[in-house]
Amino acid sequence: MQMHSLSFDISHTLAGGLVLISFLMLYQDRLYSLLNVFALHALVLSLAVAWQALVQDAPHLYVTAAIALGFKAIVIPVALHRIIRQLGIHRDIEAAVGIGPTMLAGMGLVALSLVLMLRVTAEADPLAREDLAFALSVVLLGLLVMVTRRNAVSQVVGFMALENGLVLAATGAKGMPLVVEISVAFSILIAFIVIGIFLFRIRERFDSVDVSALDDFRGERR
């Protein structure tokens, strides 16, 4: 019994930590710091998934945890660092939407997802329902990062944060099949997006894709 409540507390802390780090992401106005916060996000996710693997006695989840650690906390942030340097956008400060309104919107979204999920999952076991409520908060905060940013790189970071929320939800749903396959599929998707940004030098979301830069300014900073 004692052990159960400890394991409960640890998963709770990790999932709650993920929500907090999502909030940290909301007010980063520099790309490098956004990436660092995201790496932390992925690290906490991999800890949360590994902990679930341990308490659920589901060794296949360690694969998902390893993907989160290796791919999302290390490879992708490093690759995006390089892209930012090569595109020369590391000094950019984003102010698409002010920090104040964004934080307020974020709090609203978290409140919404807590109210919604805790109410509809009243009969599920407490761990799963709180996990799910946190996961939905992370998903919605990731979505918020995507809509408040103008830069393609930070949009991708927002998408990955959203996806971390999904992985959290999938691992919290005890015994769910295909979790590993889905996390691999998502990693492929993200790899494609990142390669796409790199190859096509997409700076801003929908309105300035500069392909001529690829031919005319190769190796030069613009």
Partner: protein
């Protein structure tokens, strides 16, 4: 016999996959284009054999029933005809230097992977596997939309990518919630994601959890269907990619997402305590119809015009399925088949037209029936069909949707009729300038293969005049399945 049917399912999946691998390494345009056609034909024949052989027992991953056979046969048929169109279209793109041989290889391989993804989504009996399959199909089309690497094409691909990714992410959250709802009843693990088991036990699921799940699934897969508030990617993706891809996007990929949505609608309808999925779907469908009808008037780009027309028709289909009941479901199913056939035929014509004229601007295309009779008249028939005029098939399905709605919800039927009429006027307005009058633009002869286009149009015409009885019985059965 059932062994044979299982082999047919295997063929529907493995032929495209193996061909994709071959096409990725084989050089030469003639060889690969032919291989693409032959493989698509083989897949279509395998799908046809599913109609006659005994169905395999549903396994945890594979399911063949009356509902998805309609989708599989339609999918592989249009996949086959589009591969013929694509062969002549791509030959021109190679000559004009729009595509290099390396990109061509990539294009053909992606075409088969897309067919694989769509077929996998249709035969899958597992809600997780459906999700993975839809992602595969989407990813391959994203890559093809961006294949010209022009400014506009990359922008369209990026927009499609981001919106599509958010869509499938939301759909996955919905899928997880369905699993959570099923777990207390079906137990942990595999079983709680198998559709045939879910549907049997759905009445025991927690209704509140199912409701929330359905909202996420509608938002997620609805993005892919191109329903009105979530449609932003659709016109760009249609306009900037190669035209064979526009044809399969409109004719097939939208149906894949629709199919996923229908499966979950059936699941929700099986639980009496959950919200009725119908009103949500019919509202979104109606909004799409009216919205797209107005948007049709302002279009300057011929491919964008027909992309908005696809939004309109998907709206009609979703509306019909949302209304539910045997007649409306029958009409929705028929409309889906007719729309896929007609819209892909129109895109075949449009593909050749834009190649001849070297532009997609409607104002620069004039008098096609005089300069290119086959293409011009083909387009005229196609647009007349898609606008919903008799005696073609879409008239009949739209009439069925409207008349079944009039009996139950006269007000909704009036709004729907208004949307359909507005769209009809807009399309005919554009058609008169494109097809008639003094020809304008390049007059060079078309190197087109008209066979796929006229095959589709002939099928639509036949369906409009006379529906064979076995076909009607079969569709009625499926309509009952849909609830």
């Amino acid at each position: 016999m059932s062994q044979l049917a299982f082999d047919a399912v295997g063929a529907v999946l493995l032929v495209p996959l193996a061909t994709a691998a071959l096409l990725a390494i084989l050089p030469g345009y003639r060889l690969t284009a032919r291989l693409n056609v032959i493989a698509s034909l083989a897949t279509f024949l395998a799908a046809l054999s599913l109609l006659v052989t005994e169905r395999p027992q549903p396994s945890p991953y594979v399911l063949v029933d009356d509902l998805n056979v309609v989708f599989i046969v339609l999918n592989t048929f249009i996949g086959f005809t589009t591969s013929i169109f694509s062969a002549s279209y791509i030959a021109h793109e190679l000559q004009s230097g729009q595509l290099t041989p390396a990109y061509l290889r990539f294009y053909h391989a992606m075409y088969q992977i897309m067919l694989f993804g769509m077929n996998l989504a249709f035969v899958s009996n597992n809600i997780g596997l459906i999700w993975v399959a839809v992602e595969i199909a989407t990813l391959s089309t994203v890559l093809m939309v961006g294949i010209y690497r022009t400014h506009a094409a990359l922008e369209a691909a990026w927009k499609y990518f981001i919106l599509g990714s958010v869509g499938i992410a939301l759909a996955l959250f919905g899928t997880i919630l369905v699993y959570m709802a099923a777990r207390p009843v079906l137990g942990e693990g595999q079983d709680a994601m198998v559709w045939t088991l879910l549907i049997q036990r759905a009445s025991g699921f927690d209704p509140a959890l199912l409701n929330v799940a359905f909202i996420f699934l509608v938002l997620g897969y609805g993005t892919k269907v191109g329903l009105a508030p979530l449609h932003a990617w659709l016109p760009d993706a249609h306009a900037e990619g190669p035209t064979p891809i526009s044809a399969v996007l409109s004719g097939l990929l939208l149906n894949v997402a629709l199919y996923a949505l229908l499966r979950f609608k059936i699941l929700l309808a099986a639980n009496p305590a959950a919200i009725a999925p119908g009103p949500l779907l019919s509202t979104m469908g109606l909004v799409s119809v009216v919205f797209a009808a107005f948007m049709l008037y302002r279009r300057q780009d011929i491919k964008r015009l027909f992309a908005y027309s696809s939004i309109e028709h998907m709206g009609i289909i979703v509306f019909a399925f949302g209304m539910g009941g045997p007649l409306a479901n029958f009409a929705g199913l028929l409309h889906m088949v007719m729309h896929s056939l007609t819209k892909s035929a129109i895109f075949y014509a449009v593909g050749h037209i834009t190649q001849i004229k070297g532009t997609q601007r409607i104002s620069r295309i004039r008098g096609l029936t005089a300069s290119h009779p086959a293409l011009g008249w083909g387009l005229v028939i196609g647009v007349v069909a898609i606008a919903g005029l008799p005696p073609l098939g879409i008239f009949m399905s739209e009439f069925l949707v409207l008349s079944s709605t009039f009996v139950r919800q006269p007000l909704l039927a009036i709004v729907l009729a208004l949307g359909i009429l507005l769209a009809l006027a807009a399309l005919l307005l554009r058609l008169t300038t494109i097809a008639f009058g003094a020809p304008r633009g390049s007059m060079k002869p078309a190197e087109a293969s008209d066979v796929p286009m006229f095959t589709h149009l002939a099928l639509v015409l036949i369906a409009g005049v006379y529906l064979p009885a076995p076909f009607v019985v079969w569709f009625q059965h499926v309509a009952q399945l849909l609830g």
